[in-house]
């Protein structure tokens, strides 16, 4: 497994467009999320010049996982779209709080059936830890995520210090939560 992290301009040529296509395969085609799409790619207003991407690839160069990191000092998904997930608490806006979103670790080349539609490979935990490490390198001490049940379960299994921020919203019949992850150095 090879992990690459950086802003769009820092990524190898063509990789970001592959990420957008991968996200479409996972979130739109496989999970059925109602997201902004352009052809067979997925991206939204939070894919900006300061957004950091963490991408895992297999030995063939195919993407096996991705994550998106945003500073909470600028507009981000939870703050703009899902502030009600914070149970009445103010939306965090701090240099030491980053948001993790669009997290997926589906290996479409794997012959092993996925346990959950969002995670199917052994790289899941590695990608999560790499994402947290990249956030920490950029000053994060805590991470906030907007997560479906699957991500919250993953966090519970990893032994990371994580907990939900409040009750879920029900979207298309599925609960989503805001989850905190404490970065322990």
């Amino acid at each position: 497994m090879c992990v690459v992290a950086g802003r769009q301009e820092d990524l190898p040529c063509g990789l970001y467009s592959k990420v957008a296509h991968y996200r479409h395969r996972v979130f739109v085609e496989q999970l059925g999320w109602q997201l902004q799409t352009l052809g067979n790619t997925e991206q939204d207003q939070f894919d900006r010049e300061d957004t950091i991407y963490v991408i895992s690839r297999d030995e063939y160069g195919d993407i096996t996982g991705c994550a998106r990191l945003l500073p909470t000092t600028r507009p981000y998904l939870l703050g703009e779209v899902f502030p009600q997930l914070l149970n009445g608490m103010p939306v965090p806006s701090s240099a030491d709080v980053w948001e993790l979103s669009r997290f997926a670790a589906v290996d479409f080349n794997s012959k092993i059936s996925p346990e959950f539609a969002q995670f199917s490979s052994l790289v899941t935990l590695s990608l999560l830890r790499e994402s947290i490490a990249v956030a920490a390198e950029n000053g994060a001490k805590r991470i906030i995520t907007v997560s479906p049940v699957g991500v919250e379960r993953l966090l519970q299994r990893t032994g990371l210090r994580a907990h939900r921020a409040g009750p879920p919203m029900i979207i298309d019949g599925h609960p989503i939560f805001a989850c905190w992850i404490d970065i322990v150095v």
Binding site: N87, S113, R153, P175
Partner: protein, 141 residues
């Protein structure tokens, strides 16, 4: 100006809960024990197929359930379950929550002990029947 004497009988004791800066709702076990939890939603996981050594496939039905308190802010607790061969629902995960239990000196019990104590409360709730009826209505097949 006339003042009426207020007695303790006139004062309604209203449990006050609040969200801490770290998003936890902190309660003693005694207060948590008295809180009413209501079912919010339950759902099935996609059927999981497990390839056995000889190529046979077995499936197990699993899902999640979410419960909340009738307070603002709200206490939120969820856990995973499976349907056993006898048709009984069994909890198969530790609870996931925004709750942190504390002792009488308001010292946190920590995540591990809080989880263990939540399990005690959860296992006292007749949640299996609630979920069974909900799942039957949500997935009528």
């Amino acid at each position: 100006m006339q003042f009426n004497e207020i007695t303790t009988a006139d004062i309604a004791i209203v449990p006050i809960i609040a969200v801490s800066a770290d998003s936890y709702i902190r309660l003693t076990f005694e207060k948590f024990w008295k809180m009413k939890l209501v079912h919010l939603i339950s759902g099935l996981d996609e059927d999981k197929s497990v390839w056995l050594q000889k190529g046979a496939i077995s499936t197990e039905i699993t899902g999640y359930t979410e419960w909340v308190s009738e307070t603002t802010p709200a206490l939120s607790i969820g856990w995973d379950w499976m349907i056993q061969t006898e048709g009984l629902y069994k909890r198969i995960s530790q609870p996931r929550s925004n709750l942190m239990l504390m002792d009488s000196r308001q010292q946190d019990f920590g995540a591990v002990k809080t989880s263990a104590l939540m399990e005690i409360v959860i296992d006292e709730i007749a949640w299996q029947k609630v979920i069974q009826q909900y799942i039957s209505r949500r997935y009528p097949y």
